[in-house]
């Protein structure tokens, strides 16, 4: 006879059984029984955030940097609705998180009770799955299944909505076996071996192959990044990556082309355009990657390895879809390649083309002795920190693209950014979550002055939990990417993209008990970065950069890979309506 306990205790016990060490959250009326159960135990650490949205991004940062699922605990109503942006963000970027929301008691559901909202309805289409638990006897099985769903197949966010009376009512809890509540949930992990064989033959036959890799490789675990390196070594093919996949392949490799897509390098995009074979590995042909679809990689055969069938043929028709875990697929390709001792094509002519494109130096930027160029600031930051293998998070905008372009990543799980949803305000809470999961790591949020203000309250979280995150703000006083698009598309009419009345970030840092630093001149840059790294505890750096610098290279929305703008003087002032309608 298993003794009965409250739903709140069952929840904590199930989380403990699942190995959860940290929960990011914020208490409130409908979740008080769970907070009381948390108070009485010692296994799970709770990180109190300052707004629920911060908790979700922190859980994302924790998950992305540790490979473990992130867990969030919030109350009903506004607690749940504040979490929605982070949940949608985790869905777009396939981040495994479990969000537990309090709910009004079951008898009050639907009565417009205080702090009631239809959490299940609101989150239904921005979660991988969600549950309303009305019976404490089911709670244990739901929690275990939620973690399984969040972390298996294509990872994603799962919401468990827990009415207050279910947190108090009692039931027996037994650690469930492998049986799922949903018998139909069986993600295809193992790729079809005949397709792997065809894929390997296609790679061996290709004269101009490119590996186009994405966030799926990071999600597939550190082993997948090693398989990618091995596969690249065996085949000799060049490698490019999406924003989300940075770090899976070392930026120092001669086979590395840099990021592709809208702000990718000239060589990566030209290679995609001229390739005879594209091997997409855990990438989803996002519009930021493909540019104009009818001009995307027109001469290539395409292999697409993805664990999510719905990613295949969604925007780009492929010749060989391989459904399964990308790590397993690469492992199988490596084994087959070695067993067959396949001769590969002479890729020297292909690399000669690539070298010629590289010589365009598409990431070059103008020098300045009076202003700090933002690209230079990132390069200096890289030089000062790369030996420590830092974890870098970003907000969203120009600074994010400059970080992706100029900060060379060597390892997976070191790059935390909001790729799919593009959520400003992601970087600081994500850095906090990463620092919680990696207490000894150097964690830096490369931020813009506009984005950082979107979750600025989380400075208080870092202070409370003594998390020594560094926030490096590239401050140009504009919403730079908005202004850049206004330059390119709207004749330089800067509608609402200038930020009046910015706070004094140094004083702000001090107000929160952080160290605040300001860097204003190029000659102060290295010392400023050194001071940031030398300071104990959290540091905010207000790095004043060139105000009107724009992020290049750039493929304008709806243009082909071959139509890259390399420098600002190629920018046209106004676009037609069809171009304006594109995102």
């Amino acid at each position: 006879m298993v003794s009965e306990r409250s739903g709140a205790d069952i929840l904590i016990e199930a989380l403990t059984d699942l190995g959860v060490e940290v929960v990011f959250g914020y208490p409130g009326g409908a979740v008080l029984p769970v907070y009381d159960a948390l108070f009485k135990q010692n296994h799970i650490r709770h990180i109190l955030v300052r707004q629920e949205g911060g908790a979700v991004h922190a859980a994302e940062g924790y998950a992305r940097s540790t490979g473990k699922p992130g867990v969030v605990l919030v109350t009903s109503g506004p607690g749940a609705t504040n979490s929605v942006t982070g949940i949608a963000d985790a869905l777009m970027d396939s981040i495994p998180i479990v969000v537990i929301t309090g709910q009004v008691p079951t008898a009050l559901i639907g009565s417009d009770a205080f702090q009631e909202c239809d959490t299940i309805g609101i989150t239904r289409h921005c979660t991988k799955h969600n549950y309303l638990v009305k019976d404490p006897a089911r709670l244990g099985a739901v929690v275990h299944e939620a973690f399984h769903i969040a972390t298996s197949g294509r990872p994603g966010p799962v919401v468990i909505d827990l009415p207050k009376d279910v947190q108090i009512a009692t039931a027996a809890y037994r650690k469930p076996g492998a049986d799922l509540l949903h018998k139909g949930y069986k993600p295809q992990v193992k790729p079809d071996p005949t397709l792997i064989e065809t894929a390997v033959e296609m790679i061996a036959a290709a004269e101009r192959p490119v590996f186009y890799t994405g966030g799926g490789i990071i999600n597939a675990g550190p082993a997948a990044s090693q398989f990618l390196r091995e596969l690249a070594r065996l085949t000799g093919a060049p490698v490019t990556s999406t924003l989300m996949g940075l770090g899976a392949f070392p930026a120092s490799s001669p086979q590395w082309l840099g990021m592709l897509g809208m702000h990718g390098t000239y060589e990566a995009n030209m290679a995609m355009n001229r390739a005879d074979l594209i091997v997409a590995l855990g990438a989803r042909f996002d519009d930021r990657v493909t540019g104009r679809l009818d001009a995307f990689s027109p001469k290539s055969k395409k292999i697409h390895v993805d664990i999510d069938r719905s990613s295949v043929n969604k925007t780009v028709a492929v010749d060989l879809p391989v459904i399964g875990d990308v790590g397993r697929a690469m492992e199988a390709m490596i084994r087959l390649w070695k067993a067959r001792q396949l001769p590969r094509q002479d890729l020297a002519p292909w690399f000669r083309d690539i070298t010629a494109w590289r010589e365009r130096e598409s990431l070059a930027f103008p020098d300045s002795t009076t202003e700090i160029m933002p690209q230079l600031a990132i390069r200096r930051l890289w030089e000062a920190t790369h030996a420590r293998r830092p974890i870098i998070s970003t907000e969203v905008g120009q600074h994010q693209m400059w970080a992706a372009q100029h900060f060379g990543f060597e390892d997976p799980n070191k790059w935390l950014t909001s790729g799919g949803l593009g959520t400003m305000g992601y970087g600081l809470p994500a850095a906090i979550g990463a620092q919680v999961g990696n207490p000894n790591a150097l964690v830096i949020d490369i931020a813009g002055e506009a984005s950082i203000l979107m979750n600025i309250q989380e400075m208080s979280t870092a202070a409370q939990h003594r998390l020594p995150v560094k926030v490096f703000i590239l401050n140009n006083q504009y919403m730079g990417m908005v202004r850049q698009w206004q330059d390119l598309t709207y004749g330089g009419r800067y509608s609402e993209s200038y930020t009046e009345a910015l706070p004094d970030f140094v004083k702000l840092a001090e107000a929160y008990g952080w160290t605040g630093l300001r860097i204003e001149k190029p000659r102060e840059l290295d010392d400023g970065i050194a001071a940031m790294l030398a300071a104990d505890g959290p540091v905010m750096v207000d790095c004043r950069v060139a105000k009107l610098a724009n992020c290049f290279p750039m493929i304008p929305s709806g243009a082909a890979h071959t139509e890259m703008l390399l420098q600002a003087n190629e920018v046209s002032g106004e676009m037609d309506d069809a171009a304006k309608a594109l995102v």
């Binding site: 239904r124 991988k128 769903i149 294509r154 139909g184 069938r309 069809a578």
Partner: protein
């Protein structure tokens, strides 16, 4: 600038799902969120233990979109199986309609005569009206309604399509 429409095909999809709260909203919401069209949708429990429901969806779109719809349905956690009956080939589609027609004299007699041709049953009658129950494929019902419209159609209730593969095996 104008927005272009693409050529569409009509497909009947049969979806087996866990019978749980919110499943219909999950399916219907996926269609609206991704801009897919639902022509008709029927749902009912189909197993003895009431654990599994069959949802029959009639949708329209270009072939790539139909493929996407199937993949998107398939990745919903409570979905067991998605079958494209149109692509599969031989299958039976049926729908039931209740059709209220009002009229007197010749039009009333003509309505009753046509109902016989369409094997519609009279399930309610007053001196000046009938309610017909008619089953069949959607086209047959469309045609019957077209005729009744000329004879005094008052209102219609349709079930939407239920469909199943032919032969001795589950699709």
């Amino acid at each position: 600038m104008h927005i272009k429409a693409e050529d569409a095909e009509r497909h009947t999809l049969s979806v087996l799902v866990d019978n749980e709260a919110g499943i219909l909203a999950r399916i219907a919401g996926m269609f609206s969120a991704r801009g897919y069209n639902i022509g008709s949708l029927t749902v009912a429990e189909v197993t003895e233990d009431e654990a599994v429901s069959r949802i029959t969806i009639v949708t329209e779109g270009p072939p790539e979109m139909i493929d996407q719809i199937i993949s998107q349905l398939d990745r919903l956690v409570p979905v067991h199986k998605v079958t494209d009956l149109t692509a599969l080939g031989p299958h039976v589609e049926r729908e039931l309609a209740l059709v209220k027609v009002s009229g007197t004299g010749d039009t009333r007699i003509e309505a009753l005569r046509l109902a016989e041709v369409y094997r519609a049953r009279v399930v309610d009658a007053t001196i000046s009206s009938f309610v017909f129950e008619v089953t069949g494929g959607s086209e047959k019902i469309d045609k019957f309604l077209e005729l009744m419209r000329e004879l005094g159609l008052i209102e219609v209730a349709r079930t939407g399509v239920a469909a199943i593969a032919r032969g001795n095996e589950a699709a």
